[in-house]
């Protein structure tokens, strides 16, 4: 018996018993999956059915050892789709892999019945199918991981873009509200952003508001001082505002020298100073 013959017989078997295998598989999956909330039952059934159809179609071509073959395109596409939907939905990798691995039991049951007169062929067919399903299982994990990685990369980029806005408050006055912990990579972006904005707008004063910075350690302070020094070199003054009482204490305890820098407790105070320096004043009407 050649591989092609096995393949044809297995494919026939699956097609004949598709409904039964499908039902047993779904039952198995439902028993195994602890959290069934992520994937709905209807969706699970639909996926199982689609996979079985694609799988029996793929088996017919006889390429049981090579899942990269053209005949498996449909199966791979389907698995990729299922995997990435699950990754986005928050399934665990083992849940996703179980989807494939739990097909073994119902499938082997029917293989047993189909090859009952030929033990040697049964052993060989079982082994082939088992290793084939293993490969598909690994493939799902790979796709799952890739989908997760993409999500992480996208989020990192979004975070970086999100975190560094430079706002124009007045003619010649810029504000830079900092949110979140400052690390070297972020400081670099912040620094470049604000310096570029100073050039673009010709602003003479930049207010750096650190209300949203949870902690200030020596490294963060050093980063801030660098930004201020660079802005000064370009001819713009910097004011630090939004220093919380706790942070004021930390700065003094750490011995950070902020004497050359104008510091204010609130953005409003800083803005008033900035207006004074640009020769503007606000007058209340009436």
């Amino acid at each position: 018996m050649t591989t092609q013959d096995y393949a044809t017989r297995i494919s026939q078997l699956i097609q004949e018993h598709e409904a039964e295998i499908g039902a047993e598989w779904v039952a198995q999956l439902e028993a195994l999956t602890v959290r069934s909330t992520v994937v709905s039952k209807e969706q699970l059934r639909k996926h199982c059915q689609q996979f079985l159809t694609a799988f029996s179609n793929g088996t017919r071509a006889g390429e049981l050892g090579n899942i990269d073959h053209r005949s498996w395109d449909e199966v791979r596409d389907l698995l990729a789709e299922i995997s990435s939907t699950r990754a986005k939905g928050g399934s665990t990798p083992s849940e996703t892999a179980t989807f494939i691995f739990s097909l073994k039991q119902p499938l082997f049951k029917h293989l047993n019945a189909g090859f009952v007169n030929d033990p040697a062929a049964l052993a060989s067919a079982s082994w082939t199918i088992s290793s084939l399903l293993d490969k598909f299982g690994l493939y799902t994990i790979e796709v799952f991981q890739r989908a997760r990685d993409q999500i992480i990369v996208r989020q990192q980029q979004e975070l970086l873009e999100l975190s560094t806005p430079v706002v124009k408050l007045w003619n010649g006055i810029l504000a830079l509200p900092l949110i979140g912990t400052l690390d070297s990579a972020r400081t670099q972006v912040v620094m470049e952003n604000i310096l570029q904005k100073i050039v673009d707008t010709g602003a003479a004063i930049a207010i750096i508001d650190i209300t949203g910075v949870p902690t200030v350690d020596t490294l963060v302070a050093q980063h801030l001082m660098k930004t201020i020094a660079a802005a000064r070199l370009m001819g713009a003054d910097c004011i630090i505002s939004g220093i919380r009482p706790q942070i004021a204490q930390t700065i003094v305890h750490l011995g950070v020298n902020l004497e050359d820098v104008t510091t204010k407790a609130s953005l409003a105070d800083a803005f008033v100073v900035a207006l004074e320096r640009t020769g503007t004043s606000i007058v209340k009407k009436g």
């Binding site: 470049e192 602003a203 660098k226 660079a230 000064r232 370009m234 001819g235 713009a236």
Partner: protein
């Protein structure tokens, strides 16, 4: 030999660096500028480096030194138009041009010199 022109406006000296700075050019500029400050009895120096978009440690130090020398000769010095990349490099090198005034562009630099000096 290539030189960076130094223009005189009243008792101000105006230096605009429009070409790529190389080491020799920077050294010549230092000599010329100190010479001219003494000869013209200049009270203010304005160095425009807006066309300079790349500095290495040597050029960074030369800018810093030139500005410091002008200050020692009792001429108010303003460095104007520094590009963001140059500013970041100088800060990373620890050259913060202490005691030298800075401005965003020539116009603001002139205003600064005019306010403090004359």
């Amino acid at each position: 030999m290539e030189r960076i022109p130094i223009l005189r406006m009243g008792n101000l000296l105006l230096v605009t660096i429009q070409v790529d700075m190389h080491d020799r050019l920077a050294m010549t500029l230092q000599d010329d500028l100190t010479e001219r400050i003494v000869r013209d009895n200049a009270k203010g120096v304005l160095i425009d480096i807006s066309a300079l978009d790349l500095v290495d440690s040597f050029i960074g130090r030369m800018i810093s030194n030139t500005a410091a020398m002008a200050r020692v000769l009792d001429a108010q010095t303003v460095v104007v138009g520094m590009q963001p990349a140059v500013a970041i490099t100088l800060v990373e090198l620890g050259l913060t041009l202490h005691g030298v005034k800075t401005a965003l562009n020539v116009e603001k630099g002139m205003a600064l010199l005019g306010k403090t000096n004359f």
